[in-house]
């Protein structure tokens, strides 16, 4: 009895995306769908107004991006033993730091999201379904620190996705950007984990994931778990090399 519970717990650990979001409604992730797009702060909107001129830089302001959808088209299927028989499908949501927007451009994107996976526009396809091709030399790394105190990449090791080693930023609970709580089925960003991104244009950005649930709720309710999961809120800012 006890042992069985333990095994189920271990199973949960490995199947995070599924366990916590069975009622997902396969939201359309087109960037033109403004209802899921950001309501960034006013600073940012001002910048947006003349972004044409500055699109080659990542803003040095701290920008909070809300509700980036990281949903799937079809959920993974599992057999009775819990083993995946059919993997999940659906486009990754691509994001470009220089414009501060979600994009569908095949080349001009920096990182892309689907469930808890974050991929980078650098390296090669890892082999998951519907992955966008890597066309640039972007890279990603993870460091510990306070967002405000990180001003340069310094010695943070940046990596690219690869077929051999998988995602450059691990998707595992407790080892990458988030930890999964098997008691509450909540995915929470680990405090002090800062992503460092080398963009496709060769700029650098620091990123802190704030929430995996729609509208960044302070308490995650059952409704959030069922209907609001897989929406990233994160803040970012450009940094020096």
């Amino acid at each position: 009895m006890k042992k069985t519970n333990f095994l189920i717990y271990l199973l949960c650990l490995s199947t995070l995306g599924i366990v916590s979001c069975s009622d997902d409604d396969n939201t359309d992730i087109s960037p033109n769908n403004t209802s899921t797009d950001t309501q960034g702060n006013t600073d940012r909107e001002e910048k947006d107004d003349n972004k044409e001129d500055e699109s080659k830089e990542v803003t040095l302001e701290v920008v909070e991006f809300k509700n980036l959808p990281a949903t799937v088209a079809t959920e993974a299927e599992r057999d009775q033993m819990g083993q995946i028989t059919k993997p999940e499908t659906g486009a990754y949501t691509k994001f470009d730091f220089e414009t501060g927007k979600i994009t569908t451009d095949e080349n001009d994107w920096d990182i892309a999201f689907r469930t808890t996976a974050i991929i980078v526009n650098g390296g090669e396809n890892t082999g998951t379904t519907d992955e966008p091709d890597r066309t640039k030399e972007g890279a990603i790394g993870l460091t510990d620190g306070l967002f405000d105190e990180i001003t340069a990449v310094k010695d943070v090791k940046l990596k690219q996705d690869s077929k051999e080693n998988g995602f450059a930023l691990t998707q595992r609970s407790g080892q990458g950007w988030y930890s999964y709580d098997f008691r509450t089925n909540v995915i929470g960003p680990i405090p002090g984990k800062i992503l460092i991104v080398k963009t496709s244009e060769g700029n650098y950005a620091k990123v802190e994931i704030l929430s995996y649930y729609k509208d960044n709720p302070s308490e995650i309710t059952d409704d959030d778990k069922n209907n609001g999961v897989r929406y990233y809120t994160f803040k970012y800012s450009g940094i020096k090399k």
Binding site: M1, K2, K3, T4, N5, F6, L7, I8, Y9, L10, L11, L13, S14, T15, R78, Q80, M81, G82, Q83, D144, G145, L146, F147, E164, N165, G166, G174, Y178, S179, D181, R183, T184, G188, I190, P191, G192, K193, E208, L210, S218
Partner: protein, 693 residues
């Protein structure tokens, strides 16, 4: 139980002692213990921290199983660990580090990752429970790193058959039937014991699937036969069996799972004591024990076996001990023995054997009627890991008739368990693999050859280094005070355990799951103060109590703080991320800082009625690293901690006639529960009737 009977009991105890214990001076009527030195010693004269629980206390408390009576003792905590396995702690060290003995020989632990389920031990036939706290490897070898719990079974003294039959029923249809009979016929003394314990189970959390404890029943049978060949040679043969049946009811991906588990444990213990002369005696001991468990779980739909667990562990241990009493003040003990340990279980590629040999010696020296030294050491040789030397020294200094100082320092160890060396387990549902250290490299290579390994995260060289035993250095010191009405004791303890064994990742499978093995990693420390007192302010009233203050931490995490490594947490409402301070580190999981017990026993002589009221408090403890920063800290959410709680147990026993006792009682009288995580069983009420003959 009446006072009368107690007096008789104590009187008989004394007779018994004078009959065959000439090893140490027994000056008074005072209780003796055997576990601390392997010789009979007065409890109050020992230089080590020892807790003794008498038969009278067990009966007046209405305890049925070992966990119930132990959790009312100072500094002994029984609670499930994070995985839900039953656990126990002494001085903050888990049951993995505590040796559990019956009449001096060890019990097997079963499958639960080193934990020992104390509930499987019935306490209906025991004379006393002796708990030695602190490192005891110098006498007992591996696993006695944190202490020893020795259950001493009763020896009959009556010339006519005497015994008791009792029946108890209570909440959750928890039923207990107990039968005891014993007699001394000339040179032969026998005692027989039978117990059946069953329950319909209970559920602590209705929101989750399944129930906390499913219905079970278990049976314990025991027999003890003592034959005195002559004045100098005595043989004792004890046999014990324990059988447990439990339903399994759970669910998996919304499919109901049903099944059953059966476990059977038996031991045979043969001890011959040969008193060569007044100064010299020898003990020849043979001990065999086996534990077999089977578990079957079927998915309901197609009755396909999902989890099958077979487990078969055997242990054979011959030992010879000699005691030489050089003078009234100096006694030497020498022991030599061997252990043959065998384990065959599911997820082992083949049955495995451990063989070990050991020798130990001890000198017990008293100087000037004031100072008692005990110096001991043990050497263990083992087939699978390095040899271990475990020394220990203790001293007691008697200041006057009331005050004494005590101190001891010792080193102890825990050998790697079978599973840590030989497990070969792949979880079929998830796909991760756990490999014992000794087979890890070969199995990893084999998986690699089958193209199942994506990458390795450790060098072959490193994986070839054998796993070391976990070792500790521990220190105890304190003082005792006693007068006719008050006994009090204060003890400071400190245990430092190095080479703690834990799992780590050695590679990644092509299915993206990890391959784990075991390694020696961190070191931990538990440190604290224990205070105990017993007060007899008036006749028939006994008030006792205890307090344990415990500090506990992982040394490497404290070092990380000192070396400037940062740990981060999130503020509760603003969710702002910030650096936490060293003092915010809460320490090890599942440990409380404060642990208090108060016990009141009153005997109302005119009415032949006795009352007992026992209260235990345990302060807040942490179970989960909620915020994922890798350590348990005060900013982990409310869901990560169990709040402090107080549990009160009460029992009333009425001695109706000479032959009849009636008892009613309640565990968790005030129905205390804990939120949000509840591990506390609500109020239980029971009634018991005992017929003595």
């Amino acid at each position: 139980m009446s006072l009368n009977k107690n007096n008789i009991f104590i009187f008989l105890l004394v007779i018994l002692h004078s009959a065959f214990s000439q090893k140490m001076k027994i000056d008074s009527l005072e209780t003796t213990v055997i576990t601390a030195t392997r010789t009979k010693r007065q409890l109050s004269s020992l230089p080590l921290p020892v807790t003794l629980v008498s038969k009278e206390t067990i009966q007046k408390s209405g305890s049925l199983r070992l966990n119930e009576i132990l959790e009312e003792q100072t500094g002994i905590v029984t609670v499930p660990d994070q995985s839900g396995f039953e656990g126990m702690q002494i001085q903050g060290l888990e049951s993995e580090y505590i040796s559990i003995l019956i009449d001096g020989v060890p019990l097997l632990r079963g499958r639960t990752a080193g934990n020992f389920d104390l509930k499987q031990l019935a306490v209906g036939n025991i004379k006393q429970i002796e708990v030695v706290k602190g490192p005891s490897s110098a006498l007992y070898g591996s696993d006695a790193l944190g202490g020893v719990i020795n259950i001493i079974t009763d020896i009959p003294t009556s010339k006519t058959p005497k015994g008791s039959v009792s029946y108890r029923n209570g909440t959750f249809v928890e039923q207990d039937i107990n039968l005891n009979i014993g007699q001394r016929i000339g040179k032969l003394t026998y005692s027989l014991y039978a117990n059946r314990f069953s329950s319909d189970g209970y559920d602590l959390n209705r929101e989750t699937e399944g129930v906390t404890v499913t219905p079970f029943e278990n049976y314990t049978f025991g027999g003890k036969f003592i034959y005195k060949f002559n004045k100098n040679i005595k043989n004792t043969t004890s046999v014990r069996t324990y059988t447990e049946y439990q339903d399994i009811l759970s669910s998996f991906e919304n499919e109901p799972l049903t099944g059953s588990s059966k476990s059977k444990d038996y031991n045979i213990h043969n001890l011959t004591v040969h008193q060569w002369n007044e100064k010299f005696d020898m003990e020849y001991e043979l001990y065999f024990t086996q534990l077999r468990a089977k578990e079957r779980v079927n998915g309901d739909a197609n009755a396909r076996a999902l989890f099958n667990t077979d487990f078969d562990n055997k242990l054979f241990r011959p030992e010879i001990r000699a005691h030489y009493r050089y003078s009234d003040n100096v006694t030497f003990t020498l022991g030599v023995g061997a252990t043959f340990d065998y384990l065959d279980r599911v997820n082992f590629s083949e049955a495995k054997n451990f063989n070990s040999q050991y020798v130990y010696g001890q000198a017990d020296i008293e100087l000037l009627n004031r100072i008692n030294f005990i110096l001991g050491a043990r050497q263990d040789w083992h087939s699978e890991y390095d040899k271990r030397f475990s020394p220990k020294g203790s001293i007691r200094f008697k200041i006057n008739d009331h005050w004494a100082l005590k101190g001891s320092v010792g080193s102890a160890f825990k050998a790697p368990a079978f599973r840590q060396l030989f497990l070969d387990f792949t979880n079929s549902a998830v796909g991760y693999t756990v490999l014992g250290r000794n087979i890890a490299l070969n199995r990893l290579n084999a998986l690699d050859d089958s193209n199942l390994i994506l990458r390795r995260t450790i060098s072959d060289e490193e994986l070839r280094t054998p796993l070391k035993a976990e070792t500790s250095v521990a220190f105890n010191s304190g003082f005792t005070y006693n007068n006719s009405k008050l006994k009090a004791e204060v003890n400071y303890f400190r245990n430092n355990i190095s080479n703690l064994i834990d799992t780590f990742v050695i590679g990644t499978r092509t299915n993206a799951q990890n391959v784990f093995s075991y390694q020696n990693i961190e070191s931990i420390r538990t440190e604290g103060i224990e205070i105990n007192f017993t007060l007899n302010p008036i006749e028939n009233l006994k008030l006792s109590g205890g307090y344990q203050l415990l500090y506990h931490f992982d040394n490497s995490i404290r070092d990380d703080f000192d070396n400037g490594k940062s740990f981060f947490a999130r503020r509760p409402i603003t969710r702002e991320v910030f650096k936490i301070e060293k003092d915010d580190y809460f320490g090890l999981f599942n440990r409380s800082k404060h642990h208090i017990n108060i016990k009141l026993f009153y005997n109302w002589a005119e009415k032949n009625t006795s009352f007992s009221l026992r209260t235990i408090y345990r302060s807040k403890y942490g179970l989960f690293d909620d915020n994922g920063n890798g350590i348990l800290d005060v900013y982990d959410g409310n869901g990560a901690f169990v709040k402090g709680f107080t549990i009160t147990n009460a029992t009333v026993t009425k001695h109706l006639k000479d032959f009849l006792d009636i008892q009613i009682g309640s565990n968790n009288l005030f129905n205390v529960k804990n939120n949000p995580i509840n591990f506390i069983i609500g109020r239980r009420i029971f009634g018991k009737i005992t017929y003595n003959f």
